[in-house]
């Protein structure tokens, strides 16, 4: 029960009974998300074979099982969590499974959907573990530095493994392979949030003034720059440009949110431009990406046929406004990475602009719920972390989708929750788990704290 002092300490929090937990809304939305995914699965079968896939029921049951278990644990351990987060994650993951299953039908020798379902299960398991084990997100603050170190190790690891398609981002042990960079980005977000929460005032208020810009003291900004430089340096060595761009964007956004110094954005963009030009100049790999971005159809004129970007654009164009319908497009012409980096092209072709915009809206909703959580929280660490994680999703969607849509050079990242890739889907479930945990803290009425 609320004590008078607790009410006084948190005046914006209404007492228990006035807050609707939203759990029933979440249940309805989760079931709707499962239904949409199953509908998509059936549609693929109907459009390709003329009948529903024989395992549609078991597929639906598996997805519904995961969804209901996750919902149950939220009811039990995070009763006041934002009711949109879980349904959004389930829906995105379900759409991903449907599209991967659809692409499997075009590659009879390579079936990725069962593996993806397995990884999704592991992702949900970790989601539950985070919610059950992590009672308060502020505990993470204590492990921020160890986390940053662990992240650096994770990022360095792939250097000792053979490169895959020009990038050293994979760790392969026996039949298993994963991208440590995916996990590292959460740890880095935690580190930034923790560090900036402590030092934001000194970053913002002290330091040297040069003309109109106020620069922070070296001893304050130094460690952050060092960590960031280590990450980006490693990633450039591994030619994992997508993750470099993602971490850089995250860094700039969080720095701005923490300090409110728009000068950081200027400096950030300046650094990014210098870095981009340098890398583009030094690395032929990157240089070719930039050329492909500016002239996606050049390889056709050169008589070498359509390259991946051109094939991707053909797929989007073929979809038009309404799309061909699931299973009826030819995005498999993209070839390599059709199920991972280029999976958005399949959605664009088969669900059309309408489906694509709907998907973007789902991401926008997920991002805005994350930002809202951050704003509603009281502690600076939580606020920075929630906004940082939301920005992580938004930037990642922008980098990969912008790449395949030829809006920016293609760098290679996974579309959150949808693209094939175990590390990615597991990481995204952990991000949503953290947002669920923090939104529960943000919306929890003024009951005795559980710490």
């Amino acid at each position: 029960m609320a004590t008078p002092s607790a009410v006084a300490a948190a005046p914006r929090r209404p007492p228990v009974g006035q807050v609707r937990s939203g759990r029933n809304v979440e249940l309805v939305l989760v079931l709707a998300a499962v239904a949409i995914a199953v509908f998509g699965y059936v549609e693929v079968g109907v459009n390709i074979d003329g009948r529903a896939p024989s395992d549609a029921a078991s597929y639906g049951a598996a997805l519904a099982g995961l969804a209901l278990v996750a919902h149950g644990v939220i009811r039990w351990k995070a009763r006041y969590a934002d009711p949109l987060l879980l349904p959004l994650a389930i829906l995105l993951n379900g759409i991903g499974l449907v599209v991967i299953y659809r692409l499997d039908r075009a590659t009879p020798s390579n079936h990725a959907a069962p593996t993806q379902l397995l990884w999704s299960t592991l992702g949900v398991a970790l989601f539950l573990a985070v919610i059950v084990v992590l009672r308060d997100h502020r505990l993470l603050q204590r492990y921020a530095y160890i986390g940053a170190l662990a992240a650096l190790v994770l990022l360095i690891l792939p250097i000792f493994f053979p490169p895959v398609y020009g990038s050293r981002i994979w760790v392969t042990i026996g039949p298993f392979s994963f991208q440590p960079g995916e996990f590292a980005k959460i740890l880095l977000a935690v580190f930034f949030a923790a560090y900036l929460a402590v030092h934001r005032d000194s970053l913002a208020l002290t330091g040297r003034q040069i003309w109109r810009w106020q620069l922070p003291r070296g001893r304050v900004i130094g460690p952050v720059l060092l960590v960031w430089a280590a990450f980006v340096g490693v990633l450039v060595l591994e030619t994992d440009l997508g993750t470099s761009l993602l971490l850089f964007g995250l860094f700039v956004v969080m720095l701005y949110v923490a300090t409110a110094r728009s000068g950081w954005i200027t400096i950030g963009l300046l650094l990014a431009s210098v870095g981009a030009v340098t890398v583009g100049w030094l690395s032929p790999h990157v240089h070719s990406r930039v050329v492909d971005w500016l002239h996606p159809l050049a390889s056709i004129a050169a008589g070498q046929g359509a390259n991946q970007i051109a094939q991707s654009l053909f797929a989007f164009a073929a979809g038009g406004i309404l799309g061909t319908g699931l299973g009826l497009g030819h995005s498999i012409l993209i070839g390599f990475a059709a199920k991972s980096d280029f999976i958005l092209a399949t959605i664009g072709e088969e669900l059309g602009l309408v489906g694509l915009v709907a998907l973007f809206l789902l991401y926008a909703l997920l991002v805005s719920r994350g930002v809202r959580t951050g704003i509603a929280l009281r502690d600076p660490f939580g606020r920075l972390l929630a906004i940082g994680l939301a920005a992580l999703i938004a930037i990642q969607v922008f980098v990969v989708a912008g790449g395949v849509l030829d809006l920016i050079p293609l760098t290679g990242l996974t579309l959150p929750f949808i693209a094939q890739g175990g590390s990615s889907v597991v990481t995204n479930w952990i991000i949503v788990a953290l947002l669920v945990r923090m939104s529960d803290s943000a919306r929890r009425p003024s009951a005795p704290e559980e710490t």
Partner: protein
């Protein structure tokens, strides 16, 4: 100098976080904007890009509609197992190649396969039940069928008659213009390169390299000097314009006939022609160059041109619906050239199709019907899409004049050079032609025969008119009567028996 700012003036995380959120939404909005640009505004350009395989994939995703002769398809579709699901097959490809043309995944579609492609491939709007809804739902309609006017028996007779020789046959039903046979030899199997494999490419390359040009449709797309068969046109012009009124009266042609403005005599193939006072009928029966050359000059260039054009000469857009090559009769000539042109020499050149129109126009009492190869178009379920109606091409001459020309042609077969085309129990009218060509006439002459036939005693319009040309044969004695007439005879017999 360090200059601390007022903490109160700095924005809190609520504000900066909200701005960061707005920034994230702008990023996503930019994606939606780019998607709209690509999927709506740029879509057509990408769809039409030659490197985009989707158009081809969709085209071959379903079996192609069929081309039918009588009630039986002469085409089919077979699954390929490749990216392009179905390819064209032909039940008796070389037999009907001049009718169907080809449909190849690499080399495109020609002739009937080309002109009727939208119906056969299913994209024709007339196949759609609800055009707008089909557009939205991207429904692909099954390909429709094309029923030809070809008579299987006549086509077989034509191909068999041509055999190993280089030549062509066109046969027409005079009263309607329906094309009964369209044959060209040497022929080819259009199914041999319908797919997209290396074997298809090899077959195509071999056909392209063949000096005998097996893929040339000689019945439609090649013109030959018509030689003496053109005398039918000259006779019709002379009679229609009053140059000659009685086919049995002397024409007034001098012997020998010196080409106007020259000192050259227009020679005849037979000495029987080398006398004055010959009638038109005798001149036709003997195929006298001198008389018909003289009559052409007497009739005059303008009237000769008009009569030739009544039969399809100088028509560069004769579409049946496959476009025939333009047959030529010069419109600016001196009198000696008119004389030569009137016996089918000089620059006069005709497709077998147009020469069949000459015979058919005479047989149809002077009315030339527009030749047509397509009888009707249907949906895959048999529902009619369009039935082609006969239409008049030109009224070439009066029925009375046509009757006179019919008499001339009948006499040629009964008593003259066309005896090889006689059919017992039938009335046959015809005209032979043996056209010299090459430098100093060194080439093997083109052997022509044009004719029509009807059951003896019938007063109806003859059911068949035919033109045959043999361009290259191993025969020692190359004449229209010897080489071409027997083929015309067997084609006419096939139609008469069918009738």
């Amino acid at each position: 100098m360090a200059k601390p700012r007022n903490p109160q003036r700095r924005h809190g995380i609520s504000t900066t976080g909200r701005r960061a959120g707005m920034f994230c939404l702008v990023l996503i909005l930019a994606l939606a904007g780019q998607a709209t640009w690509v999927q709506v505004f740029q879509a057509k350009a990408y769809d039409d890009n030659a490197a985009n395989q989707r158009t081809a994939i969709e085209r071959y995703a379903q079996p192609r509609g069929n081309i039918l002769v009588g009630a039986a398809p002469v085409t089919g579709s077979a699954p390929t197992g490749g990216r392009f699901d179905y390819k064209r097959t032909y039940t008796d490809g070389s037999q009907f190649a001049a009718v169907t043309g080809f449909s190849s995944q690499i080399y495109g579609n020609t002739q009937l396969e080309g002109t009727e492609d939208s119906l056969l491939s299913g994209t024709d709007n007339r196949l759609a039940g609800w055009a707008l809804w089909d557009e939205i739902s991207r429904k692909q309609n099954p390909g429709g069928d094309v029923y030809t006017t070809i008579s299987k028996a006549a086509q077989q007779a034509a191909m068999q008659g041509l055999g190993n020789q280089k030549g062509a046959v066109a046969a027409i039903e005079p009263s309607t213009g329906r094309i009964l046979a369209l044959a060209s030899t040497p022929s080819y199997d259009p199914g041999s390169f319908a797919g997209s494999t290396a074997a298809d490419q090899n077959a195509w390359n071999a056909l392209q390299a063949d000096t005998n040009q097996p893929m040339l449709n000689r019945a439609l797309r090649q013109t030959y000097p018509p030689g003496s068969t053109f005398k039918v046109v000259t006779a019709a012009a002379a009679l229609a314009n009053g140059t000659v009124t009685d086919i049995n009266a002397p024409t007034g042609a001098p012997s020998p006939y010196v080409l106007p403005g020259t000192t050259t005599t227009l020679v005849n193939d037979t000495t029987a022609c080398d006398r004055s006072g010959l009638s038109l009928d005798t001149a036709m029966v003997l195929s006298c160059n001198s008389v018909l050359g003289y009559l052409g000059v007497q009739t005059g260039l303008d009237k000769m041109t008009a009569m030739a054009e009544n039969f399809g000469f100088n028509d560069a857009k004769l579409d049946i619906p496959v476009r025939a090559a333009r047959s030529n009769f010069d419109t600016r000539m001196n009198q000696s050239q008119v004389a030569l042109s009137s016996i089918g020499q000089f620059d006069t050149a005709a497709t077998p199709l147009v020469m069949a129109m000459v015979a058919a126009g005479v047989a149809n009492n002077g009315t030339v019907m527009y030749p047509q190869l397509v009888d009707k178009l249907t949906k895959s379920d048999g529902t009619t899409v369009q039935v082609m109606k006969p239409s008049t091409y030109k009224q070439a001459m009066s029925p009375a004049v046509a009757g006179q020309v019919q008499q001339l042609m009948t006499d040629v077969v009964d008593n003259g050079t066309g005896r090889n085309a006689r059919i017992s129990g039938a009335t046959v009218g015809g005209k032979t032609g043996t056209a010299q060509h090459g430098v100093d006439n060194s080439g093997t002459p083109y052997a022509w025969f044009i004719s029509w036939a009807k059951p003896a005693g019938s007063s109806a319009v003859p059911p068949v008119a035919v033109a045959v040309v043999i361009a290259d044969s191993n025969a020692t004695d190359v004449t229209g009567g010897g080489l071409a007439a027997p083929i015309a005879k067997s084609v006419m017999q096939a139609v008469l028996q069918d009738h």
